[in-house]
Amino acid sequence: MDTLSYLGGGLGELAGNLGLGFAVALSLKNLGLCFLGCLIGTLIGVLPGVGPIATITMLLPITFGIDPVGALIMLAGIYYGAQYGGSTTAILVNIPGEATSVVTTLDGHQMAKQGRAGVALGIAAIGSFIAGTVATIIIAALATPLTKMALLFGPADYFSLMVLGLMFAVVLARGSVARAIAVILVGILLSTVGTDLESGEERLTFGWSEISDGLDVAVLAMGLFGFAEILKNLETTQTRDVVHAAIGNLLPNRKDFRQAAAPIARGTFLGSLLGLLPGNGAVLGPFASYTLEKKLAADPSRFGKGAIEGVAGPEAANNSGAQTAFIPLLTLGIPPNAVMALMVGAMTIHGIVPGPQIMTKQPQLFWGMIASMWLGNLMLLIINLPLIGLWVRFLKVPYRLMFPSIVLLCCIGIYSVANSPIDVFMTAAFGLFGYALLKFGLEPAPLLLGFVLGRLMEEKLRQALVIARGHMTTFVDCQVWLGKCDRPISTGLLVLALLIVIVAVLPSISKSREEVFQDAD
């Protein structure tokens, strides 16, 4: 009875909160911003080799004149647009716009070659929409309890949670575990550049006053992901085979729907779950979904030759993961991946500190943003399908014209963040650094995550140590054998982190870890 009334009360509260959110998001201005964000995000995201990170950094300045609620709604729209644009490129050109749409190239592009590009794009859009709807409900339902839980977190627990997140990032990164850990450590090292908050002393600035405030996440991201990516693309002579076959019917037929329904449901579930994980779980969603569908299929040999399940499932997983990744950011204030790290930067510019206090102090912003997530998904469905012709034309613009434009837009974007030419200069330096990382087989994505979490980690570490009077044991203060446990959360998280690493290095598991990624090669 009690549980029932609690559940009822919870549902009522949820409805009330969503009502508030929709009231905010449905205002003409915010609706327009959401639409504009989705449209521009898709426009830039469609460009081959321009992922969500570069897109968001490039477009950050256009949100400056807008109030925080509107700006965040627009940025979220840009993010979804960029994600969806990446899938369009994957299907039509066989070049993944970003990491998560690698899987879509496998069957999506094959479908396009068979003259079924329209159906592939259609099912991707519909699957994404369904996944987005479910993910929005999950976010809304989990937000309140998770925020309440976050308030129980002490500095030690936060620190351990971030350690867990970084360990996830290590496991989910490609290549060797040692390389991933090393790259994350470099990110943490970069995060210590600037004035130490407690002592006021400058660290790693080499007497250069321009970086005494620390490095900017947008500058780092643009260098590592914007410019380094261009340099890499210029070297590989891309054979862009834009599909010449007709796009065909956009609406999948009854048989397509029957085949795609279950993969979409499974993909949505997998993606939502993985997206919740700290440490870039969202990236794994599409891979996991593809592997699962291939295992479940009656005839696995169809995969890679244009199986609709291979598009529907991963696309659903991609989108739901992209959205539930907001949960750790909005409730705990911890960005789970590089894109969310950038969102933190964007929020800071607008004077919002992500974390549990957003929901209680700025309910309009919080619920407005969640409601706009669903509206954004709806808009993607509405604007993308009719505009496919436009995207196809856009894709035919040769790279020799595209990359100088991207360079210019990146420059303007970075300059405008702080009206600072020095920032532009530093972006170039990080571009060179990113290029070197790629050349040496070091992945830049975990670096950015380490960079963002590094600052928070140091802060929480120092707080925790002050509280515990210098006892490192505060992180694992748990003597189960004595029936005493002072820090159950922190201890549990650290044990989990340790388990993950052990499991990842075990030969049998590390083999299957390769298997999950191998389809992408």
Binding site: P61, A99, I188, E198, S199, Y399, R400, S416
Partner: protein, 180 residues
């Protein structure tokens, strides 16, 4: 992003260095670690009871160095991929064009010892096309007429969008040239 170059590269084969990729990555990490250690010289390390500003950077730098040394050792022991060729054209023109933008958008002063070179502010309408044209040299396939026409169009579009539509405080022309 997912395309780690080592995936497709040729194995380094016989020789003392069995994995050029590991050696390169290891050396890079060691350099980063040394810079980190150098940059936190003279700062208080502190104890656990009162953590000093150097604790985090120095311990992280040491760890980076350890991984770097580990990779260098691996490179002599197990066979791995060869380093990919480094290209100069792309980085030179693309990153050069970014520097060009940084120097000319609002003007700047370059200092080489006692030599000072003042670079005037050119503004978006001039610095923009300069950036695009310089960057375009990175690609051999660039065609002169096409890129000139395209740059003109792009510059007009950017000025229109960033100055008039979004009203960003970005300089458009050199100071004193017209109404900006």
């Amino acid at each position: 992003m997912l395309d780690v170059p080592g995936d497709r590269a040729q194995p380094s084969g016989r020789g003392i260095v069995k994995s050029q990729l590991d050696l390169g990555a290891g050396l890079l990490l060691i350099v980063i670690a040394l810079v980190g250690l150098y940059g936190s010289l003279g700062l208080r390390f502190g104890q656990l009871t009162s953590v000093g500003p150097a604790l985090m950077p120095r311990s992280v730098a040491v760890l980076v160095g350890v991984f770097g040394i580990g990779l260098v050792i691996t490179s002599f022991l197990s066979i791995g991929p060869r380093l990919e060729r480094w290209h100069l054209r792309g980085p030179f023109f693309v990153l050069g064009s970014v520097l060009l933008f940084a120097m000319t958008i609002r003007g700047s002063t370059l200092t080489f010892g006692s030599l000072k070179i003042a670079i005037p502010q050119l503004g978006l309408a001039i610095a923009g096309p300069l950036t695009v044209l310089f960057a375009s040299l990175a690609d051999r396939e660039t065609r002169p007429v096409e890129i000139l026409l395209y740059t003109t169009f792009l510059t007009l579009a950017c000025v229109g969008m960033f100055k008039y539509l979004l009203r960003l405080p970005i300089p458009i022309l050199p100071p004193g040239w017209g109404p900006f």
